[in-house]
């Protein structure tokens, strides 16, 4: 019961050590590690191991939140890492291994979504956004050039006065009506 609860919490936060348990007596009983890849998982062939690591970084740990199986220490992530290594050892290519895992667990397992109809917009988004931004800028700039040609200089001056400014202007005008020297002094 206690174990289950702790396991749930640890999974929820998906960080650090997992399933460390404080026994009722208050002794550190057992603690599994804060480590993702365990020493015993590592393949003897460094080239194959490097490929395994690269593939692992592309696969999502299904019981965690937004962690790759390479970063996660959940048991399921470990199973997947071992599976990836087994497939690699049988001589499969990276693409074949990824395909195998995807067939088994669905598209959700891939941290880099494959390009298909439902992800088309996702992958095109950055390019579309950039094109849109450049196009909008170019259009605004060209329109501005046209305007300048028509409107002539100092368009900023055309902003209407605020109520405050209007009142101050009126006061100044009134003062000017009485004694024209004071207003120039204030300036």
């Amino acid at each position: 019961m206690m174990l289950q609860h702790i396991g749930k919490l640890a999974n929820r936060f998906a960080v650090g050590a997992r399933r460390s348990v404080l026994a009722s007596a208050g002794i550190l009983l057992l603690a599994t590690s804060a480590m993702a890849v365990q020493p015993d998982e590592i393949l003897a062939d460094p080239a194959l191991e490097a490929r395994a690591r690269a593939i692992s970084a592309e696969l999502r740990c299904l019981v965690c939140q937004n962690q790759s199986i390479d970063d996660s220490n959940a048991p399921l992530a470990r199973d997947l890492r071992v599976l990836v290594r087994e497939r690699l050892q049988t001589g499969e290519t990276d693409a074949q291994v990824l395909q195998f895992i995807e067939d088994r667990y669905g598209e959700f397992v891939l941290l880099r979504p494959p390009l298909n109809l439902s992800t088309l917009l996702l992958w095109l988004a950055p390019i579309l956004a950039l094109v849109l931004a450049v196009w909008t800028t170019a259009r605004a700039w060209r329109r501005r050039q046209d305007q300048i040609a028509v409107v002539d200089e100092a368009p900023a001056r055309q902003t209407p006065l605020t109520r405050d400014e209007e009142r101050k202007l009126q006061e100044l005008l009134k003062q000017q009506g009485g004694a024209s020297s004071t207003s120039t002094d204030q300036k």
């Binding site: 960080v15 404080l22 208050g26 880099r112 992958w123 902003t159 109520r163 101050k168």
Partner: protein
């Protein structure tokens, strides 16, 4: 009693905010000065009441008042004092109270320091500010009240999630919120300008320091979160493209763009409409960040509040202010007059390029973060968008931005000379190329793009120095003259150069640590030694230890370099008493060259412990870069021109009007 006082103060603050929302706005419509003037005392009163409410909740936490449901849920009597205090905002309810407190703080600051602002602009700004406060205070009182009592009270609390019991994380939320909420000022100014249908350079002069302050806090807040993740989560990563991280990164990107476009508006009276839109969008993204984190819609590390009812409420707030702001923009933007023309190759042009790339990057992060949610709710299909997607899309957008960055400050306003700028950057460029060649030669492994990335970072850093060298005309004029120019250089020029230098540092750190990280995973027995990145690391054994509210198993390591002891590392596995949750503490030896990072793993059945050792080259540059950017902001804010707010014309106008009254 104290808790009821806090509750009461919160309700009063809501009433004051409603008053502050309605009266000054109406006053500005009918031109009643007295009605507009009540905004100031109201804003300050609101701050006072919310401070009181926050203080009361803090007292409840510090004194471990377990008749308060919120304290029971998130605190424990054995928790150290600092975490009892940080526990106030380490939970949903308390963090929302902090949110509105900071909101009120910014509002009161406008009231107190905004004496030079035109009366109707100020009234409208404070009125919009108050409307945000009303929405969030209603949210707190109706769905997330931290002042609710519990009867009968339990003997002790449930404790704070141990991963939150950490100095960096204790201050991560206040900084982050100061950033998020600080952008509300830019939003309020934008909406107020749209209400008035007028906007000028003085507006930008006002908005820029507030945006800069918010940006500084957000920068540091994000960096703190990243640093915390690095040493606490135990696998040496510093950024995960987690939706919650993205939620804070989007306002940062938009806010950075806003800083630069407001600069164009202030100096050249151009890009007005765009700046207003960006101000609205930046705060909208902050609201969305709040929504994503607070609603628990993304189940991730940070989402500790999972409650759809609250989510819908925050969603409504977000829709109201984003939609309202954009609707105002659509209606009134055409009233805003554009000014200032410039050639494409000019300072303005470079800042426009900055804005194009930053907004595109922001849009990319936005789509990447929300696409899975949208797709799942529309079609039910579940996909994951993780780090590989962002590396592929966000990265390429940053390359042209960083390449163009050093050129920007070297170009003149209106019409710039790109060849001249390139000439001034020649030294920086040459050194960067040398660095690239050296990296390529020394580092046999790693992605082939990495040396280019390092060189890019170096180019940005040296480009910032080149800008100062050019400004003081070092080499052109006698050395003494150059030094005199250096002393007389405006602080904002230093701010710019320093901030860009910080960006360069960050890039170097990011690329170096991502591309050249070394790792060793092995089983070690006490007394054994292994070597990594020039260090000899000896495992001395493990020992149990007891902390204030946890027990831990500590492993002792000695790191040697060339036979001399350089560091003693103590990675640990910790279990907290309440709640009984395990955490790992990495043993880190920080150095300029990089960090030695040791994590303690399982005890092996065959004897020994699983050990994981990393060497993270130059990883400190990431956070140092952020700190440099923060300092750069502070330097720029201390510039006299910004400090005074809207100086010059407006002040003279006030002085001239005074004798007449």
């Amino acid at each position: 009693m104290v808790v009821e006082l806090g509750h009461f103060a919160l309700v009063l603050a809501l009433l004051v905010a409603i008053f502050q929302m309605l009266v000054p706005f109406y006053g500005s419509r009918v031109g009643d000065d007295r009605m507009m003037a009540v905004a100031d005392p109201a804003a300050i009163c609101q701050l006072g009441l919310l401070s009181l409410a926050f203080l009361c909740l803090t007292i409840a936490y510090v004194s471990s008042d377990f008749s308060v449901a919120n304290v029971v849920a998130n605190s424990h009597s054995t928790k150290p004092l600092i975490y009892r205090i940080s526990g106030v905002w380490g939970n949903h309810e308390g963090s929302m109270l902090l949110w509105v407190l900071i909101l009120a703080l910014f509002g009161a600051a406008v009231a107190a320091f905004g004496r030079n602002l035109p009366a109707s602009l100020k009234a409208n700004v404070l009125s919009v500010q108050a409307s945000i406060a009303v929405a969030f205070m209603l949210f707190i009182l109706l769905t997330s009240n931290p002042f609710l009592r519990l009867d009968p009270p339990p003997a002790d609390g449930n404790g704070l999630n141990p991963i939150l019991q950490d100095p960096a994380l204790a201050f991560h939320p206040p900084f982050l919120y100061a950033g998020y909420v600080g952008f509300s000022i830019a939003y309020s100014f934008a909406v107020a300008a749209l209400i008035d249908g007028r906007i000028d350079a003085a507006w930008a002069r006002w908005v820029r320091p507030w945006t800069l302050a918010a940006w500084m806090f957000l920068t540091l807040g994000i960096a703190m979160g990243s640093w915390w993740a690095y040493y606490e989560l135990g696998w040496g990563g510093w950024w995960f493209w987690d939706p919650v991280e993205n939620a804070s990164f989007m306002p940062w990107l938009a806010g950075t763009a806003l800083l630069h476009s407001a600069l164009v508006m202030e100096k050249r009276d151009a890009l007005k409409v765009w700046t207003v839109l960006l101000a609205i969008l930046t705060f909208s993204l902050s609201l969305m960040g709040t929504f994503l984190v607070r609603s628990g819609i993304l189940t991730s590390v940070h989402a500790f509040a999972v409650d759809p009812q609250r989510g819908v409420f925050v969603l409504a707030i977000m829709a109201l202010f984003t939609g309202g702001g954009l609707a105002m923009f659509a209606l009134r933007a055409s009233d805003l007059r554009q000014g200032g023309i410039f050639a494409p190759i000019s300072r303005e042009g470079s800042l426009v390029l900055n804005n194009i790339l930053l907004t595109t990057a922001c849009a990319t992060v936005f789509i990447g973060t929300l696409y899975p949610l949208a797709l799942e709710s529309l079609t039910g299909a579940k996909i994951s968008v993780g780090a590989p997607y962002f590396d592929w899309t966000f990265g390429p957008l940053m390359v042209p931005l960083l390449m163009a960055l050093p050129f920007g400050p070297l170009l003149a306003w209106k019409r710039g000379d790109i060849l001249g700028a390139a000439q001034r950057l020649m030294v920086a460029l040459l050194i960067a190329v040398v660095v690239m060649a050296a990296t390529l030669a020394v580092m046999q492994r790693g992605p082939w793009l990495a040396p280019f990335g390092v060189a890019l970072g170096v180019f940005v850093m040296l480009g910032a120095i080149s800008e100062i060298v050019w400004r003081i005309r070092l080499g052109d004029v006698p050395f003494g003259d150059a030094m005199r120019r250096l002393v007389n250089l405006p602080r904002s020029a230093f701010g710019t150069a320093l901030a860009h230098f910080g960006v360069g540092m960050l890039v170097v750190g990011v690329v170096a640590t991502s591309a050249y990280r070394q790792e060793k995973i092995l089983v070690m027995k006490a007394g054994e030694t292994t070597s990594i990145a020039g260090y000899e690391v000896t495992f001395r054994g493990v020992a149990p230890r007891t902390g204030p509210n946890y027990r831990e198993e500590v492993a002792m390591f000695d790191a040697y370099r060339g036979g001399t002891l350089v560091s003693h590392l103590e990675p640990a596995r910790r279990v907290y008493d309440m709640p009984p949750e395990p955490t790992t503490e990495a043993g880190i030896h920080a150095g300029w060259r990089g960090d030695l990072y040791v994590v303690l793993g399982d005890t092996q059945q065959a004897g020994g412990h699983a050990i994981r050792i990393y060497f993270n080259p130059m990883v400190r540059f990431i956070w140092l870069g952020a700190v440099v950017m923060f300092i750069a902001g502070a330097v720029s804010l201390s510039d006299r021109r910004l400090r005074v707010g809207a100086p010059g014309r407006a002040r003279r106008a006030v002085a001239a009007a005074a004798p007449a009254e």
